[in-house]
């Protein structure tokens, strides 16, 4: 059903010199501590990372919960901040689709689409035979997801020992990891332009609309980069 050789190969991407473990660990540690501080139990915190596994969405959930937002408002706010998962899925799944593989694998494993797993898959898929890419992906996804859940537990348990300066230090780890992975992904003009323009237009649009800046800035930047790459 799942090819264990490829699954394990994917799972092992959480070790080694390009390991996402510390970056993922640091950010979900912070989530665990945050959820404890806003009144979640340990089980609820685990349940949250288990089911959501997308950092900005969990942060928005925590903020909305604190101000007592309605469920409809929480749904809309989370959907907006996690809408980036749509283009991420569309730019990943066609690389993994294979006629011989059952569909449930795709609908189940899309839950693992989050920035770190996505970036790891994008930089490794070419070395994997297409038929088994979905199994490799399920390995990466399971590995990164388990790190996230474990770190949420640790963060919840150690939250009393973390001072504010340490929380600030932990908060920079994920941006550092993502930035390095992005630099590593700059292998074509189109992708390099997408990344550079996105990093400029995202913050620029913040002055117009903080909520929509990432989506607007990102879609505009990606579209400009696409056309420059196609018609240069």
């Amino acid at each position: 059903m799942i090819n264990s050789k490829y699954f394990l190969q994917g799972f092992k991407s959480i070790k080694g010199i390009d390991s996402p473990a510390f970056a993922l660990g640091a950010s979900f540690l912070a989530i665990g501590a945050l959820l404890k501080n806003i009144g979640f139990s340990l089980e609820q915190s685990i349940f949250s990372t288990f089911l959501t596994y997308a950092l900005p969405g969990s942060l928005v959930m925590a903020e909305s919960f604190l101000i007592g937002a309605s469920l409809v408002n929480i749904f809309l706010a989370v959907w907006l901040v996690n809408a980036r998962l749509y283009p991420m899925t569309v730019s990943l799944m066609p690389l993994l689709l294979h006629k011989s593989q059952p569909r449930w694998k795709y609908y189940l494993s899309c839950h693992f689409i989050a920035v770190s797993a996505w970036l790891i898959m994008k930089s490794n898929y070419q070395s994997i035979e297409k038929k088994y890419r979905i199994d490799f992906w399920m390995g990466i996804g399971t590995g990164t997801w388990l790190i996230a859940i474990t770190s949420t537990v640790i963060g919840f348990l150690v939250s009393d020992y973390l001072n504010k300066d340490m929380m600030i230090g932990l908060a920079i780890v994920n941006p550092v990891y993502f930035t390095c992975m992005m630099v590593g992904a700059m292998k074509s003009l189109q992708i390099s332009l997408s990344i550079i323009l996105g990093a400029i237009l995202g913050p620029a649009f913040f002055f117009i609309s903080p909520e929509w800046s990432v989506l607007f800035g990102g879609v505009l930047a990606g579209t400009i980069a696409y056309f420059i790459g196609e018609f240069k």
Binding site: D18, I168, G169
Partner: protein
């Protein structure tokens, strides 16, 4: 179950549904998109640029504790991380571990 804890469960369920929705719709759309098509390339560009926009926004206009560190410190740690990553032949452990330690020391 108390009212508060059933409320928390609902909040978690709503959050995870709102998150899974984009992933699910992405798979539905992927069924019709070939990896060599123009639309795939376009979405690929958008995915990378949205991620870059998100990271840049987190560093420049952070929400939460990160805003208590100076913008200059945040940028220095990011740039230092990139340099270390390139110097160590794409090692990600050094930049991630060191960035946490250095920023903690800088803000202390």
């Amino acid at each position: 179950m108390s009212e508060l804890s059933s409320n928390i469960i609902l909040v978690i369920l709503v959050t995870s549904l709102a998150t899974y929705l984009s992933r699910f719709l992405g798979v539905v759309s992927s069924e019709k998109i070939s990896e060599t098509s123009k639309i795939f390339k376009w979405f690929n560009c958008i995915a990378y640029s949205i991620l870059a926009a998100l990271i840049a926004r987190i560093v420049i206009f952070p929400a939460g504790v990160l805003e208590e560190a100076d913008l200059l410190f945040r940028l220095l740690v990011i740039i230092g991380g990139i340099i270390l990553y390139l110097l160590t032949k794409k090692n990600l452990v050094f930049p991630t571990v060191l960035s946490a330690i250095i920023l903690t020391l800088l803000v202390t």
